[in-house]
């Protein structure tokens, strides 16, 4: 009995050590640093200041609260667009699934996910350039709209970021929802047809309830991704104009690696982690509840 217990401990020990070194120690060290006034250029002179970094970040400076607000605004807007467009696209691919070349078409559609966000940012930076960009050119020649700085004005810049983010990730949502649609039993469609249900009834009474857990899974994954949003912001707006597109991850990078304020940067990293944990816990709880309900049904 005793040896079995030791054996179990020995089995899980490598995993525990791995987690300790890779995850837990860096996290605890971040928490430790966040309680200090610490700069990378003079780490030997760091001194303890308690919760002051958190207090400044959350209550005295408007930049970080704005970054939190922007992150969630971009996340919710992007994910909403992605779900709507993703569902429409999934429906189309579901309907044409028996047609030749539909697989090839689907592969082409998911190409944006394969691109690195850095490249996506660069491509859109050129597209949205007010003097050289194709978007300005089309608006100017077709609609006579004077070119302006889409990434240089606060509201257009926010919209642009949402559009870029949605453009890249809608195919991901589409794949997920298409997988969900594939799981709907054919009998349900046939029964609905016999009962004379129209497309709207099919969508709201059969398809959406059936794919709800897929939607929630997509939302959880995308939410985590959006909380870490960095590359597109770094390439296109650098958080500007002003702080209109400043997001949490970019703020942390800026504080840590441009100002080298390790204490403040660590505090913002800890806050991001806490926010991520809360959001993920809520989302996973919801997901489980939906799955349980589906199971009951």
């Amino acid at each position: 009995m005793q040896s079995e217990k030791i054996q179990k401990i020995l089995f899980i020990l490598p995993t525990c050590l791995f987690l300790l070194v890779i995850s837990i120690f860096p996290f605890l060290y971040s928490v430790y640093l966040s309680l200090f006034q610490a700069k990378l250029t003079k780490m030997h002179k760091k001194f303890f200041i308690g919760w002051e970094n958190y207090q400044v970040l959350l209550f005295e400076d408007d930049t970080f609260p704005t970054a939190i607000k922007n992150t969630f605004m971009i996340a919710f807007s992007s994910i909403t667009i992605e779900i709507i467009l993703g569902f429409i696209m999934a429906k189309i691919f579901f309907e044409i699934r028996h047609i030749k070349f539909s697989n090839a078409l689907r592969t082409v559609t998911i190409m944006p996910i394969m691109l690195t966000p850095l490249c996506v940012g660069l491509v859109f930076l050129y597209i949205l350039n007010p003097t050289l960009g194709i978007f300005s050119y089309i608006l100017d020649t077709v609609f006579g709209i004077e070119p302006f700085a889409y990434l240089g004005e606060p509201i257009p810049a926010k919209i642009s970021i949402i559009v870029i983010n949605s453009w890249q990730w809608t195919p991901f949502m589409m794949i997920l929802l298409l997988a969900g649609l594939m799981t709907v039993p054919n009998e349900q469609y046939e029964a609905a047809k016999i009962d004379g249900a129209n497309w709207f009834h099919v969508m709201t009474k059969i398809e959406i309830p059936s794919i709800l857990s897929f939607v929630l899974l997509g939302v959880v994954l995308r939410l985590i991704e959006c909380i870490r949003l960095f590359d597109i912001i770094y390439i296109t707006t650098k958080g500007g104009p002003g702080i209109a597109t400043e997001v949490m991850a970019f703020f942390t990078y800026r504080t840590e690696f441009r100002s080298f304020q390790i204490g403040t940067g660590s505090a913002s990293a800890v806050i991001i982690l806490i926010i991520s944990l809360i959001v993920t816990t809520i989302a996973v709880t919801l997901l489980r509840r939906v799955e349980r309900n589906e199971g009951l049904n």
Partner: protein
């Protein structure tokens, strides 16, 4: 007349023997087989560095690798590498305003210590030949930390063909600049122009530095004890970013933005220079390092069609041309500091500096500014020289918080320019944030 005075002045203040040829074979050590690595900004002078470095290779046997990076990226890379005691690069080209931070982080070996220990012939260093507004950028804690080599000064660049067509003189005051910008914006006579003027307005360093570049000529000062000629610019650092002069300057920029090209809110150094090179704007203020590009027929549409003038000033104020530029430092963690120092003293010497300038780089020494061949090849040199003598070395803060401070300011300036806040609100916030930053590090009480 002015040129004669300047020439006489310069001949008096730097030793003539600084121009005498140095026997580099005797002066430099043998570094055969060593690959000396130089880390530089990707500014236009980098090609000239690569062009002349083979001369050093021929004398010392070392091979020289020069690698260029963008402005923010270079700063990030250098500080992070320094924190890891990284000696991958032997010579660091550092922006003069970063000096306080680099000294604080113990990244550089002070050149004054090296030349004292080595007993270097001071005619090779020829410190007095440096223009003082720029040479001061290499001094911190009362010690010469690095060798200045790439001094930049701001000049107003304007299109001579357009100004002649309109019968205008080069602008001298802010009002002149505004009137000319207004005239050229959306003028059907000049369909290629997208704006009358272009400035650095992008969030962060670009907009933050723009503020410092203009504030003295706007009749203001960034903090209490920092003004041209101040005996101790850092004595009282309480901010004046929301002074009436500062706010009036931001309001002037807000008006100017109407006469700039679309997208100027995202302009930084390259975009500003490109707009002028491509003939899209009638005027820009620009660092002298990019002036030769405007005369390069391969990339410029304005070759022979532009002139330079002193930096403009507000009514009742004087022109205080901005000064900046790059200093060469020995990496404290370099594996071969002797080779690094040899490269520095060779590269920054008056003799090699002249060759470097003739290869297309900006002149930074009195001797180069008065060199007939340089004046012939870079005809804007007299105005540049006058600008350099009028400049104030403490234009921007040079202490360890400079990068963060400029970025903080740049965010608020950009907010005012994009309409996110009023000029007064933006500058009040900037002042508050900068004061808090300075207090946190003990620069002010």
């Amino acid at each position: 007349m002015l040129r004669k005075i300047l020439l006489t002045f310069s001949l008096l203040i730097f030793p003539l023997n600084s121009l005498l040829a140095v026997n580099w074979e005797d002066e430099l050590g043998d570094h055969s087989g060593y690959n000396l690595k130089v880390q530089s900004i990707m500014d236009p002078y980098i090609d000239a560095v690569k062009e002349i470095s083979p001369q050093f290779e021929a004398v010392t046997g070392a091979s020289v690798t020069v690698e260029g990076f963008g402005y923010d990226g270079l700063h990030e890379k250098q500080i992070v590498a320094c924190s890891q005691n990284d000696g991958s690069y032997d010579v660091l080209f550092v922006d003069g305003i970063w000096i306080g931070e680099f000294v604080e982080a113990d990244c550089i070996e002070p050149v004054e210590d090296i030349w004292t220990a080595e007993g270097t012939d001071q005619s090779i260093v020829a410190w007095d030949d440096y223009i003082s507004s720029f040479a001061g950028q290499a001094i911190w804690d009362d010690k010469k930390q690095c060798l200045p080599f790439g001094g930049y000064w701001h000049m107003l660049h304007y299109r001579t063909d357009l100004f002649e067509a309109e019968g205008l003189d080069p602008p001298k005051t802010f009002d002149d600049v505004l009137a000319a910008a207004k005239l050229f914006k959306d003028n059907p006579k000049y369909p290629d122009l997208e704006g009358g003027y272009a400035m650095n307005m992008a969030r962060g360093s670009a907009a933050g530095q723009q503020f410092y570049e203009w504030i003295y000529s706007a009749g203001g000062k960034p903090w209490e004890s920092n003004y041209p000629g101040s005996p101790d610019a850092y004595a009282d650092q309480r901010g004046l970013y929301n002074s009436p002069e500062s706010v009036a300057f931001i309001e002037w920029m807000q008006e100017m933005i109407n006469y700039m090209p679309p997208g100027v809110e995202q302009y930084a150094w390259d975009e500003r220079a490109k707009a002028f090179t491509q003939g899209k704007v009638a005027m820009i203020n620009n660092w002298s390092v990019r002036t030769p590009l405007f005369n390069d027929p391969e990339i410029s549409k304005v070759k022979g069609k532009f002139g330079v003038a002193l930096f403009p000033h507000a009514a009742g104020a004087e022109s205080v041309p901005p000064v900046g530029g790059w200093i060469a430092c020995v990496n404290k963690h370099s594996k071969n500091k002797e080779a690094a120092w040899d490269y520095l003293k060779w590269f920054a010497s008056p003799e090699v500096h002249r060759e470097w300038v003739l290869a297309g780089a900006p002149p930074s020494r009195h001797s180069a500014m008065n060199d007939p061949q340089i004046n012939a090849e870079q005809p804007w040199t007299p105005v540049l020289y006058e600008s350099s003598l009028r400049a104030w070395q403490e234009l921007r803060p040079r202490h360890a918080l400079t990068f963060e401070l400029i970025e903080t300011l740049g965010i608020e300036v950009n907010k005012a320019l994009t309409g996110e806040s009023s000029a007064q609100e933006a500058m009040d916030t900037a002042n508050k944030k900068i004061d808090r930053l300075l207090k946190s590090e003990g620069y002010i009480d």
